[in-house]
Amino acid sequence: MSDATPLMTVKGLTKHFPIKGGMLGRTVSRVHAVDGISFDVLRDETLGVVGESGCGKSTTARLLMHLIAPDAGEIIFDGRRVGSRDMTMASYRSQVQMVFQDSYSSLNPRLTIQDSVAFGPQVHGVRRRDALQRTHDLLDRVGLDPARFAARYPHELSGGQLQRVNIARALAVRPRLIILDEAVSALDKSVEAQVLNLLADLKKEFGLAYVFISHDLNVVRYISDRVLVMYLGRVAELGRAEDVYAAPQHPYSAALLSSMPTGDPDRRVEKAALQGDPPNPIDLPGGCRFHTRCPLVGTMCRGTEPELARIARDHDVACHARIPGSGHRPESKERAA
């Protein structure tokens, strides 16, 4: 397998949650949590995923891990379709691991730290003695002295220490991809920076790829090679982090980035780029999902949903206004004409 092939390819991944209602418990409507998203994760890269709550970030993470079954779409890992005979679920899960936001509830409170970390390798057939040896090496590597921490229980550790344990546990099965779902969001700011540094070091040392999901746009810019912007279950924009942050092409990405506090008392934000809240993912607007809040909205945006299209090198956008020859004209101009 050459290095040019992506580590993971996601095609048309879809998950709708039915909402049951009425006396017979029929499905009355659906939450379109993830609606046909496709992207690659390259080798050795960090792919940042940003978007507002309810846009499907966490559902995507769970679909990637196969913690919930997709309604449609497939995942190809290392050139092999996940779930096929070439890539069984067991072998897939030893190569892809996940770290969650809540560092305490993701550990078993009745297992010591070392038992939690050594659990995964033992499931995958490593002898207990070797698994414990590996655990101690990893605890040491993530900055927890094994002599002090290995025999302790989760409630004895702080949030930052627990998240280090979760990272060690993810590493214990020697994965190639780690999905980090808001993994630093619950930590104190000063501790968050320590964990981000640790993640960067581990990535180099073990040749890992990350899918880094966060609502914190500053952190995503810092850690990501490429960024994927999600809006209501769809990919709005995907490109290199520096390109997306310097010149966002999708009007939603642009609005999201301009909502970031500047941190500069002399250049405060004067006007909110978006009004109102994101629409409910149950009653989606027709056409482009963003058209109800979009400053560039045109007639075609209400009727046709834009597909993700390449507009520059390594830069994909799903917006009629940005796709040359789409026939899009902003309504503000149509009215003037």
Partner: protein
């Protein structure tokens, strides 16, 4: 924050010191005086409006009730004021929204409704406890801008508590940095961001600001973790994590020092944190 409103249960918390609001000491107020103070003079908004609002009454009823507890005013007049408040906090179709229950509103809308409720009796002081933390980025900035505008229009004083320095800079004239239960530095927003003097503020800004987050560069971090409040270290609480700590810092809490421009810092080593010195050390 809760101490200012005297919300902490009195039999289980020990309170010392004084809180003077509008010339009156809140810690010595009688029950009745306190009821007048809460709502009419000072009001509070919280992080989670769904918990702060009553789920079984419409928002309009809750605002009317609040007004009529404090003032002798007819139901119709109170309703008219509620409508005015909803327009001020920029809730679209306010008549319909007043008749809505909290769960029927979106997160940003609920936060606006809670602000309207807090302002129902035109308080002079608004206490805002992480009011934008649970909101999405695009909604957060709308609420920050709203608070800024209300502050100007109504001449409010706002205490805005947040862990997000970026949000604080958007709304605040002055910023006070707290560490382990004490204010360690206080200055105008501009001075604090441009020339922080307490080592904790310096570390906090270094790990957060845009310039600090340059790709491929390690983040500057503050070592260790925040202390356990039940078991504070002797002396300066920040000393175990401080790059400037000396033996003297571990003996006795440092005094608040006055600096030029009305700023204060609680640190013994500020001779080493002047901006000139720090840029020289970095080179």
């Amino acid at each position: 924050m809760r101490a200012v409103m005297r919300l902490n249960p009195e039999d289980r918390s020990k309170m010392g010191g004084r809180i003077v609001a509008g010339g009156q000491d809140v810690t010595r107020m009688s029950r009745r005086r306190l009821n007048r103070f809460r709502g009419a003079e000072a009001a509070m908004i919280f992080q989670e409006p769904l918990l702060a609002l009553d789920p079984v009454y419409t928002i309009g009823m809750q605002i009317v009730e609040t007004i009529r507890v404090h003032e002798r005013i007819s139901r119709a007049d109170a309703w008219a004021r509620a409508l005015d408040l909803f327009e001020r906090v920029q809730i679209p179709s306010p008549e319909r929204r007043l008749n809505a229950y909290p769960h029927e509103l979106s997160g940003g809308m609920r936060q606006r409704a809670m602000i309207a409720l807090a302002l129902a009796c035109w308080p002079q002081l608004l206490l805002a406890d992480e009011p934008t933390t649970a909101l999405d980025a695009s909604v957060q900035i709308q609420v920050l801008l709203l608070l800024r505008q209300l502050q100007r229009d109504l001449g409010l004083s706002i205490i805005f508590v947040t862990h997000d320095i970026g949000a604080a800079v958007e709304v605040a004239d002055r910023i006070a940095v707290m560490y382990a239960g004490r204010i360690v530095e206080e200055a105008s927003a501009r001075d604090l961001i441009n020339t922080p003097r307490h080592p904790y503020t310096i570390g906090l800004l270094k790990s957060r600001t845009h310039d600090a987050m340059v790709k491929e560069h390690k983040l500057d971090t503050i070592p260790g973790a925040p202390p356990d409040l039940a078991n504070l270290p002797e002396g300066c609480a920040f000393a175990p994590r401080c790059y400037l700590a000396q033996d003297a810092c571990r003996r006795g809490v440092p005094d608040l020092q006055q600096l030029e421009g009305g700023r204060t810092v609680r640190c013994r080593r500020i001779d080493r944190t002047a901006p000139e010195l720090r840029s020289a050390a970095a080179q």
